[in-house]
């Protein structure tokens, strides 16, 4: 093997040595070039840094669009905010679960001020619930007892300082910072603007027609999205309250996929009541129905085809039976009708 480097005259590098040194310098230049090239490719840490900075900037930017053009007499007070399923609790912590379990999609809200008064404002809450039924569920679940009738929508009521109504697939709340005529007028205007801006479309809610008409308290119509009457699995329940000479009671029904499913649900319901100490016997006068006495009230529940239904909260067993029979007749007629 040969000698690689053997400088005969130490003071002057040999040609071979110079060549090797030059090659090494070229190597250094190559390394420098590679490093410079690498510098052009963003480091993941920097990419995220820029991304996060962009996010922060976007979060600071005001939302351009308004929820609705402010009706006459009002003006926009704050920018609209939007919340999704993940962030809903940022806005209505503690109550979010009510909406989430009923199919909540999105909440848009914004404050409008009354013209000429900085401290008088109304906050508009538009809960997009995905379906009319879901919107009705959250509407009926929160119905205030001291409600006054309201004509802005089919399902609507007013409190002293607020409007609540269902519009299409949306549940709408208008909550004012005070009570009084100017607020009511402004809320009327906002409600009209909202309902006019987007027609509700006639809700395909034929279930309502299944409730017998006589004695029905119209504003009591409602729907329970989940866990009705404390029973897990009892969902999509329609309910209404009846007023008769002998007292008040509730009728309810839910339509299942099959008769077998309805019967299973009925069994689970009875089983649950039994653990609460209910006395259960066959109801005379309605075939296949059960008469239940629980906590000093009476119920009659039954299945009819795919329906599980019944009367609840009656002080008088005869009232429960009477209402249940009337509901059964309606369901029997509808039982064969397509959904």
């Amino acid at each position: 093997m040969s000698v690689a480097v053997h400088p005969a005259a130490p003071q002057r590098p040999s040609r071979r040595e110079s060549a090797i040194a030059a090659a090494l310098m070229a190597l250094l230049a190559l390394i420098a070039a590679a490093v410079l090239r690498e510098q052009k490719r963003p480091h993941p840490a920097v990419e995220n840094f820029l991304h996060a900075r962009g996010l922060a900037a976007a979060a600071r930017a005001p939302e351009p669009a308004a929820l609705l053009p402010p009706p006459e007499g009002t003006r926009t007070l704050t920018a609209p905010e939007r919340f999704d399923r993940d962030s809903l609790s940022d806005k209505i912590d503690g109550k979010a679960e009510l909406y989430l379990s009923a199919g909540f999609v999105r909440l848009d809200c914004q404050r409008l001020a009354l013209e000429g008064d900085e401290d008088a404002w109304i906050e508009v809450f538009l809960y997009e619930m995905g379906s009319f039924e879901n919107a009705l569920s959250v509407f009926s679940a929160q119905r205030r007892p001291d409600a006054a009738a309201l004509d802005v929508a089919e399902f609507a009521y007013a409190a002293e300082n607020a409007f609540f109504f269902v519009h299409g697939t949306r549940y709408v709340e208008l909550i004012a910072s005070g009570a009084g005529e100017p607020f009511t007028r402004a809320m009327q205007a906002i409600a009209r603007a909202l309902t006019a801006e987007r027609p509700a479309g006639r809700p395909a809610w034929t279930e309502r027609e299944l409730f017998p008409a006589a004695g029905l308290i119209p504003e009591s119509l409602g729907r329970v999205a989940a866990d009705a009457f404390g029973l897990a699995g009892l969902d999509r329940v329609y309910r209404a309250t009846y007023r008769t000479e002998t007292g008040e009671a509730m009728l309810f029904f839910t339509r299942r996929e099959s008769a077998a499913e309805a019967q299973a649900l009925a069994r689970a319901y009875l089983e649950m009541l039994r653990t609460f100490g209910a006395a259960i016997a066959p109801a005379e006068g309605l075939e296949g129905a059960s008469r239940i006495e629980v906590l000093d009230t009476f119920e009659v529940v039954f299945t009819r085809g795919p329906f599980f239904a019944g009367a609840r909260e009656a002080a008088d067993p005869r009232l429960a039976l009477d209402l249940a029979r009337r509901l059964d007749e309606r369901l029997a007629e509808a039982g064969h009708a397509p959904r």
């Binding site: 093997m1 040969s2 000698v3 897990a232 653990t275």
Partner: protein, 327 residues
């Protein structure tokens, strides 16, 4: 250039071989160990899912209530009413008895499973032909003192059972499918190795956190780790334990019930002679029945309802038509 020296040539070849080998070795090793991804984040779940099911087909829903002051007698009566120990322990079976030895306190305080009951149960198992009987628990106080002072250790040994005290190697991480609390949690699985029957034996006690400690709460003693975390959600935990542990049989000793200041008690005035021993194959029903001895309704103990909803048994024990016998 000088002609190559053969000695140098040999030396060079030797070195070249060494260098080549070195490079190959380094390259190979690096290739094998190369890890472009880096370590996975949270510790992997290496947990087993669930525990074996020790319940016997055909014995579901059996429940017996025996009244009397003498534990060995009432145990015999109750087991006979359930069809005899023979219907639960067959010749050759290896039986694990999970006692409640939580505290280093004397039998008279009824904070732990009574030694007489342990002795009699072990004896009956052997009488039925059991090949081996093991008694275990993971107590709250020092295990050795707990087993010694509660009298359980001596009683078990006298009856011929083996005692297994917990040690680190006997715990393995276990997850309950669908569980939210028992996830990758150390469970005393060592003593379960080779076991074919599992019997739980617990006293009836008031419990400050969960309302009552009976046969379901007794499975808490199979947990290891920093289990006091679970006191933040004890009812759900007991319900999960009820799903995780499916015993062959449970025995609930309500001969003397700790009515107040549980689970440790400490005073005889905490105790009441309730003269009842309950045995059955449905721990939820057994505990629901035992709750009455404490003057509680099943609704007062949310873990019972939760366990029932989870499919672990029946709260309405009367539906199981319990056999009631008296000494």
């Amino acid at each position: 250039m000088r002609p190559a020296d053969p000695l140098n040539r040999r030396e060079f070849l030797r070195r070249a071989a060494g260098a080549g080998l070195g490079i190959a070795l380094a390259g190979g090793l690096s290739g094998l160990a190369f890890d472009p991804e880096g370590p996975a984040g949270l510790p992997r779940e290496e947990a087993k899912t669930g525990l074996p099911d020790f319940s016997l087909p055909g014995t579901a829903g059996r429940l017996a209530i025996a009244r009397g002051a003498e534990r060995r007698e009432t145990l015999g009566l109750a087991l006979r009413a359930l069809g005899g120990i023979e219907s639960f322990v067959r010749p050759g079976d290896r039986v694990l008895i999970k006692v409640n030895a939580a505290f280093a306190s004397p039998p008279i305080l009824s904070a732990t499973t009574h030694p007489d009951l342990v002795f009699e149960l072990v004896r009956l198992c052997f009488a039925a032909g059991a090949a081996a009987v093991v008694v275990t628990d993971n107590p709250i106080n020092d295990p050795a003192s707990c087993f010694a002072l509660s009298g359980i250790g001596p009683a078990a040994r006298r009856a011929g059972a083996a005692l297994v005290l917990p040690s680190e190697g006997l715990f393995t991480p276990v997850s309950l499918a669908g569980g939210s609390l028992i996830r990758n949690w150390p469970v005393l699985t060592g003593p379960l190795a080779g076991v074919t029957r599992l019997i739980g034996v617990a006293p009836v006690k008031d419990h400050h956190r969960s309302g009552a400690s009976m046969t379901l709460k007794n499975w808490y003693g199979l947990l290891g780790g920093r289990r006091n975390l679970f006191h933040q959600d004890v009812h759900r935990l007991i319900a999960e334990l009820a799903v995780l542990v499916r015993p062959t049989l449970v025995v609930l000793d309500g001969t003397t019930a700790m009515m107040t200041n549980g689970p440790t008690g400490g005073s005889l005035s905490d105790l009441r002679e309730t003269r009842t021993l309950i045995a059955g194959t449905d721990p939820v029903a057994v505990d629901a029945c035992g709750a009455e001895l404490l003057g509680k309704r099943p609704e007062d103990l949310p873990f019972l309802g939760a366990a029932e909803r989870a499919g672990a048994g029946t709260v309405d024990f009367r539906r199981l038509a319990p056999a009631e016998v008296s000494a």
